[in-house]
Each structure stands twice: as C-alpha cells, then as structure tokens.
C-alpha cells in the first residue's frame, strides 16, 4: 500500500502509514472559536443570506456619508423651530435605524434558525460527541453571530463617526467631536449584541426553524410596535420593550439629537438602555438553558 515507484537502486521506500497525533490538543477553552468561525463561513456562502444585508449596510453608509459631505452645513429645524442641527450631525444618528433594518434581515435569514437548524439536522450529535461543552457551543454560536452582525451594526456607525471627524474645519471642532467615536462604538455594540443574541434565543426556544422565524418576526415587529404605542400613550417604561425604538432612543440621546425622533422621542433613554441589556441577558440565559437541556439527549438518541 505504501510504496513509491522504484526511481533508483538507492531509492528509499517511505512509510506512508498512519501516524499518531503527538502534538498537544488545543485547550477546551478555544473550541468556541472554531464554532464561531464555522458559523461565519457557512453564512458567508450564499449571496442572499448575509451578503445582501451587508450590501444594504454599505449603501446606508455611503448615503449617510454623502449627506454629511454634501449637505454638511445645511441646517434643519423641527416644525416648531425650537430645535435645530446640521445635516452632518443628524446623518449618523438617523442612519442607526437603517443599520438596524439590515441587521433584522440577517436575523430572519440566519439568526432565527441557528439553534433550531442544528436541532433539526442532528448537528447536536455532531457537536456533543466531541469535547464541546454546551457553553462552548453557546459562546461559539453567539460569537459567530456577533462577528456577523458587527460589520453591519458597528462598522457603519464607526466609519461615519470617523468621516464626521474628517469633516472638521479646525482643531477645536475636531476635539469637540472626538467623543463621536466612542459613542458610535457604544451604539454599534448595543445593536450588534441585540441582533446576535435575541433571534438566537427564539431559535433555541422553538425547535422548528420556520416557527422560530415567525415568532421572532412577530416579537420584533408586531409586539414591538404595540408596546411602543402603549408606551407612548401611557408614558411608561413599557415602550422600551420595543427593541427597534429602544435602540433608536439610545442613539438619539447619545448623539444629542432631538429632531424628528418619531416613536423614540417618548422613550426615556436610560430605560431603553436597561431594556436592551435585559433582553441581551435574558437571551443568553435562554440559549444557555435550552442548549444545556438538549445536550444530554442529543447523542445516540435512536429510538
């Protein structure tokens, strides 16, 4: 089986037989990286699951950047004329809701069936018959989703913030707007975290991928709209349960924009932030719990 062609009389025959692995194994703490990378590469394969939404985010960035650049000193006022700001200041916070929309698209095509898809295809057996712990799986999948969502939610605002800095006319203005960068990172991180965790929690709750998509869509769109309306009319915290509006409210507050605030205007940004953080925490807890309980029954379940 393991012979080389006879080249010369002095030739050697190499043993191509099996070699044991003598190196050390990577520590268990790195397994999540492997899972995360796989999540990214499999999502990247088709054009419509991820790339199309990414393209949308790129377009938003270009438009917002263009608005900043071309209409930089155009002043806009609200109807009462009380508040005013320049276009270049408004472009960044107003673009956040568009990034959110692109992220929602990805959550429909990928996020809301991450765990459900694995449950249906028997992939749990594949994972847990190896030295993968439930927490590695959870961190890996969420990490992968984070990495997918970051270019959409985080990279765009960050680029816009940098562009805004570049548009500064003098050093004072530059220093004055330096805070834009950490603010953009903060809001970007929030958005990324929300869309990397909450849809996945829905997919972990409902083992059927399609139902998970429907329930997540209903929660985000319909329930979100309802609670934000209730919140507006009751002036209560309940509106903060609407993730889209909450993100918007936090963005507007961070960038100090009080124009055309829409539904977000009635929301206390602190409450909105708290709601977002609670959502993220609850989502991670749900995914962790569900994966843990599926873990034991995942392997060898031939009945």
């Amino acid at each position: 089986m393991s012979t080389t062609p006879p080249v010369s009389p002095a030739g050697t025959i190499h043993d191509l037989g099996y070699k044991r692995y003598v190196g050390t194994r990577r520590s268990a703490g790195t397994r999540w990286l492997v899972i995360a990378r796989n999540q990214i590469s499999s999502s990247w394969k088709t054009w419509w699951r991820y790339k199309s939404s990414l393209a949308l985010a790129v377009i938003v960035t270009f438009i917002a950047g263009g608005v900043m650049f071309i209409l930089s000193d155009k002043v806009i006022r609200d109807f009462a004329g009380a508040a005013a700001t320049t276009m270049s200041d408004a472009a960044l916070p107003k673009s956040i809701q568009w990034y959110t929309r692109a992220a929602f698209l990805v959550s429909l095509t990928i996020g809301a069936r991450v765990v459900a898809g694995d449950l249906q295809s028997g992939a749990f057996t594949f994972y847990f018959s190896r030295s993968v712990r439930p927490r590695d799986y959870v961190i890996g999948k969420l990490g992968g989703m984070f990495a997918l969502m970051a270019p959409i939610n985080l990279a765009g605002p960050l680029l816009l913030a940098c562009a805004r800095l570049g548009l500064s006319q003098d050093v004072d203005q530059l220093i004055g707007s330096l805070m834009l960068v950490p603010k953009a990172i903060a809001i970007g991180l929030l958005g990324t975290l929300v869309f990397a965790t909450v849809p996945v929690a829905f997919s972990a709750l409902i083992a059927n991928g399609r139902y998970a998509i429907a329930l997540w869509g209903a929660y985000y769109l319909v329930f979100g709209f309802i609670v934000s309306m209730i919140g507006r009319h009751s002036d209560s915290w309940i509106g903060a349960l609407d993730l889209a509006t909450s993100l918007d409210a936090v963005a507007l507050q961070l960038f100090d924009l009080h124009l055309f605030t829409g539904r977000a205007g009635n929301l206390d940004p602190t409450v909105a932030l708290a709601s977002i953080l609670v959502h993220i925490a609850a989502a991670i807890a749900i995914v962790g719990y569900q994966v843990r309980s599926a873990h034991g029954s995942g392997v060898g379940g031939a009945s």
Binding site: L105, T109, Y211, I213, A214, G217, A218, M229, I230
Partner: protein, 239 residues
Amino acid sequence: MTEKRIPSTRSTTLTIAFVTWLRILRRRALWVSMVIAAMPVLYAGAMMSLIGSGERSSPVSGDLFAIELLVLALLAPMFVATAIGEEVEDRTTTYLWSRPIARWSVLAGKLLTLVPLMIVLVSASWSLAGWIAWDRLPPMQTYSALAACALAMSLVATGIASLSPKHGMALTIVYLLFFDFPLGVLPQTLREMSLGHQVRTLSGMFPDESGLLSAAISLVAIALVWTVVAALRVRRIEA
C-alpha cells in the same frame, strides 16, 4: 376489490386539506399562530385602558388594522411556506406525486385548510380587538378585506415557496415586509403593486385611498401572478 378509477379533484383536494389539518393540529403551529394573532387584541386592550372612552380616534383603528396586516404577513408565510417547504424537504412529495392526482390539487388542498384557518384566527383577533376598541364589531367590509388579504398573501407564499422550498418562508416575509409594504407608501403607479396598499383600500377604513374596484382588480392581479408562478413551478418539481 375496488374498481380502479382516478380520484376526483374534489376528493383529492379535500383529502390533502384533511391531512394538512391533522398535521397542523398535532404540532406546535397552532399555539405559535395564536400567540401571534393575540397581539392586536393586546394592543386594543392596552390602548383603550390608556386613552379611555373619549378619544376613540382613527389613528388607533388605523394602527390596529396595520397590525392585523403585519400578523397576516407573518402567519401566511409560516403556514403556507412551511406546509410546502417541509413536503419537499422531507421528500414526502414522492408519496404525493406517485398518486393519480393533479399536482395543483395538492396546493389547493393545503390552501383549503390554511387560508380558512388564518381567516378564522385573524377574524377572531380582529373582532375581539375591534370590540374592545369600539365596543362593537368592526364593519363587514374590513373582514372581507382581511380575508382577501389572507388569501392573496397565501398565494404569494405558495409561489415563493414553490420557487425556493427551503428558504421560502424567510423570503416571503422579507418580500412582504421589505418590498410589498414599503411600496404601499410610494407614488400611485408603484403603489398599485402592493398587496398591503390594496387591502387598506378595500377595508374602507382609509377614506383618502382610491376606488374599491380598482383596488380589488389590482389585488386579484397580484395574487394571480403568484398563483401562475406556483402552478407552473409545481408541475415541474421532481421528487
């Protein structure tokens, strides 16, 4: 033994409808859909307790109807695209296509169960929400508009799911939410292509919209396009 004749299309459609119903009944689809359909009721209840009886203004009813449309835009893909997509994915189409039946009757049978089911769910939710909001049932016209909407969206879902069985559901939701509904707020000519817009017109709740007849015609046209797509496509699906 039995004489050998092919089943009538009526009996085929009814049988498929029966199977679809049994399968829906025995899995989680029903309660998931009930949760979704309950949302407008929640809205109506909350708004009424907040605003009180004095201000039963049109914005709330407009919102309520918009929410019902959103609910349908999720339910229709969930029911229809799942019913078709799973059939192809699980390869149970081999059972169906090897029978002496016309293929479109399979689609018809599924719709025969799913569309009335959706209409019942949405009507119940709409009645309850309306009753809470206005102390009376909403006008008949709105019911017919919702029913037409349920049918039309199901046909859209049928078309898209027959094109892409595996991802039909996500694609249909994206189509309705990110293409159809936004079209509805665009200028006249493009608006005609939006199901959502036509249904709003048909409901009669939005007086500024254009004529009923033209809306009905547009709605039928859009639904027909997707029906033709589905009918052509299903003839070619191999098992």
